[in-house]
Amino acid sequence: MKKVFVFSLLMMVVLSVLLAGCSTETAAAPDATEEITIAVAAPLSGDYAQYGNAFRRATELKAEEINAAGGILGKELKLTFLDDRNDAREATNVAQRLVGDKKVLGVIGHFSSTASLAASSVYEEGGLVQLSPTTSHPDFTKQGQYMFRNINTQAVEAPIAADMVVNLMDKKRIAVIYINNDWGITARDHFVEAAEALGGEIVAEETFIGGQTQDFTSTLTSIHSKNPDIIFLGTFYAETGMIAQQMKQLGYDYPLAGLSSLYNEELIKLAGDAVEGLYMTSNFFPGDERPAAKEFVDKFRDAHGQVPNQFAAVAYESLGMLAGAIETAGEDRAAIRNELAKIADYEGVTGSITFSKDRDVIKEMSIIKIQNGEFVIAQ
Amino acid sequence: MKLLEVNNLTMAFGGLKAVNNISFHMEEGEIISLIGPNGAGKTTFFNMLTGIYIPTEGSIVFNGKNITGTAPEKIIKEGIARTFQNIRLFPHMTVLENVLVGMHSRSHNGLFHSLFRTKKFYQEEKRNAYKAKELLATVNLADKCNEYAKNLAYGQQRRLEIVRALAAQPKLLLLDEPAAGMNPQETEALMKYIRGLKDKGATILLIEHDMKLVMKISDRIYVLDHGVKIAEGLSKDIQNNQDVIEAYLGKGA
């Protein structure tokens, strides 16, 4: 009989865990609360936590501003942050939680394609806006009608970078190092295509696994044997620091160029004069003189003691657009989606934003470079 | 007919010859004891017979077939089963299951029959469980069927190990110090049990230190020392053999 008891105990544990799970969530219908809830879903722990934290700092700042200006529809804007650890499975859990929580009117997130694409089917089914500030995977907005992004896909950015390398910098023999993820691969594809069309020659293509590879010496040595004019980087700042350092240690002296992903004050600290003269495209640049950008940079610096990067910038304006859509549409998820889709010429910190009919954006980009240990406008 | 014939068997570990050029034979139905001081190479000899060690030289012919270097899991199919000096039961399996594992080589249920619980599966399981229980009854362990092996008393574990080996229906049973650690009453019972096996026609090769036991039940005795066979013969011959006395007690005894 004892074992039967254990078995029923087991079932009870299972059931009580399930029920406890229900109670963690308010399944109640939206009542006339005094709050408007928007969720921010991003990696707040794990390898990618720094990007999620950029989202958090920027959206908190924006929410404060909105509330200081009277909130949305006269109600207070409340943000709820959910950690997805940049893990596909956890992102879908988060999505399901948010879709089921009727108070949540829209979601800013997720950070990377792994998370955004895995979660998208849940958002689409639940009819909840998923506005990702950073997901550049070409398939993302094809997942459904509720997916939006606030970043140029590489179809837009990489050709600008190719033009920068081939025409502005006048380098023809190009070696490419790209991170082996969806972003890096799309960047490489579009860059290579555009560069070749402009008369450039790709002499080497090398890849690595982000967060796993620290040693680039063998890659750089191979590239050196191909005798390029320039190394183009489809990478993020952390690896770029190491690539530049190791290049210097090996005694190679190639000009470097990259994409907006490299923008981070930490890069100059990491690599010092090894990145001097690096050119890159930029969505957002703190030295930008436009008032919207200037104001954002100042406020961010006051609040967090550091200069915002592009991830913070796009998250900041994403929240602004979503809040605006709610203001017009009211507290109805489908209406919010329709309003958001209509947004045109929104004055964001990265410039003027208009959603295309596929809910993608096309933004202007500038070219910046590192000069005397500082990012400056190159063009 | 000769059941087992061992010719010039040698086992070297590096430079050390643990067993050196031993020849040996057994008839069906015999009980033979292998004695000698610690480190004489007795267990190494067992390990070669059961395929755990591959002999450096020499051959083992069992039942007319050369089985030198055959893997342990195949040796038992040839008909040699053993027990271990330091008991090696499956501690977290029940007594019954231990015996059922002993029947592994004599049973056939594979993935298909197990998965689909065919008629054949139940027949074999029932037959095996019945046989196992019969065997356990012979050593007074029938009521311990569902105990974990690790929870048995020491003497019970020794008996269970013998039964596990018998479950494979071996033609030759190797017992490695079955009486070690037993009290006189238990040893006495063990002796009766081994005799009973012999009466049923079993052939047994025994390593044992308990001389009383050895002398009472052995048909013949082989004596090893430092890997070399120093004597063989009937019990009373061995008792009076000068070399054997020296090996056990040291020179000048």
Partner: protein, 292 residues
């Protein structure tokens, strides 16, 4: 280019070797697959960095203090997480899960304390390099290789010649017997953990300095590679760890240089598997005689 690639490989290999020496030490004594080693390595590097930047200590004082503190962290880990398991005679896998818990705990703790960004680690020992015709070697690279060799020899002496070393070997061979011989097994194991954590810090700081950057996830891959190198060389064999590290480093580098940079780790692991199929107990590991 080939010479340069070999140099690159040896440098990467000596980084692995440096991490693996400490790993194999604990591994050899406890036969514990230890997933906390990588996170202790990362913790040590962050601690040293903080001592340098926040307290303004010089490199060497910061280095030594962080070795001692992290060593004590090793003791805490053993006493809090692993000793209770040993007391209960828990299966090895239970300890493995505990070390995973420790590694998750430490990584996230560091992230909360120091943030998740990659941080610059100052190049405190900038000693320049020697230029040969077609390749160059920096002094730091040589120091890393030398450090791992010195540590290996020092540890070998410690294990072979000192009293505590003998006790360590006895514990490794047979914990029960060691206890009966009057060895305070738990003290020996705690000491081993202290040493393991201290060695992890040496590696973490040197590697942080070599790459001039540290981040909270840096220990993960380093831990796996150290594990791989230690197993490849033969568990618990100190020179084996060096050899294993060098082989993995060189094969990875050559794979990236001549085959495909995307497959570098895959090729390194494939070589590891192939070697183990030929030498099932690692390159320098002793073949275990079955005890019957």
């Amino acid at each position: 280019m080939f010479f340069q690639q070999i140099i690159n490989g040896i440098t990467l290999g000596s980084i692995y070797a440096l991490t693996a020496v400490g790993y194999t030490m604990v591994f050899g004594i406890l036969e514990l697959v230890n997933f906390s080693h990588g996170s202790v390595y990362m913790f040590g590097a962050f601690l040293c960095l903080t001592l340098m930047t926040a307290l303004g200590l010089g490199f060497f004082p910061a280095f030594i203090i962080s070795i001692v503190i992290t060593g004590m962290l090793g003791i805490v880990i053993d006493r809090l997480a692993l000793l209770p398991l040993r007391r209960k005679n828990a299966p090895k896998v239970a300890s493995l899960i505990s070390t995973i818990g420790i590694s998750i705990f430490l990584q996230n703790l560091v992230m909360v304390m120091w943030g998740s960004e990659t941080k610059n680690f100052p190049l405190a020992l900038n000693l320049g390099h020697i230029q040969f015709n077609s390749f160059r070697i920096s002094y730091l690279q040589m120091i890393i290789l030398l450090t791992s060799l010195i540590l290996m020899m020092g540890l070998t002496l410690l294990v072979k010649k000192t009293k505590i070393g003998k006790a360590m070997r006895a514990t490794a061979q047979n914990m029960e017997a060691a206890k009966l011989m009057g060895i305070n097994v738990n003290l020996i194991i705690t000491f081993t953990f202290f040493l393991g954590a201290a060695l992890a810090t040496v590696a973490g700081v040197m590697v942080g300095m070599y790459y001039q950057s540290v981040d909270p996830m840096m220990g993960f891959m380093a831990g796996l590679k150290a594990f791989a190198a230690a197993v490849l060389g033969g568990i618990g064999v100190l020179p084996g760890a060096i050899l294993g590290g060098l082989i993995i480093g060189v094969s990875e580098t050559l794979a990236a240089g001549y085959i495909h940079s995307g497959y570098r780790d895959a090729i390194a692991f494939a070589i590891l598997i192939a070697v183990l199929l030929i030498k099932p107990t690692g390159l320098l590991g002793q073949k275990v005689q079955k005890k019957v």
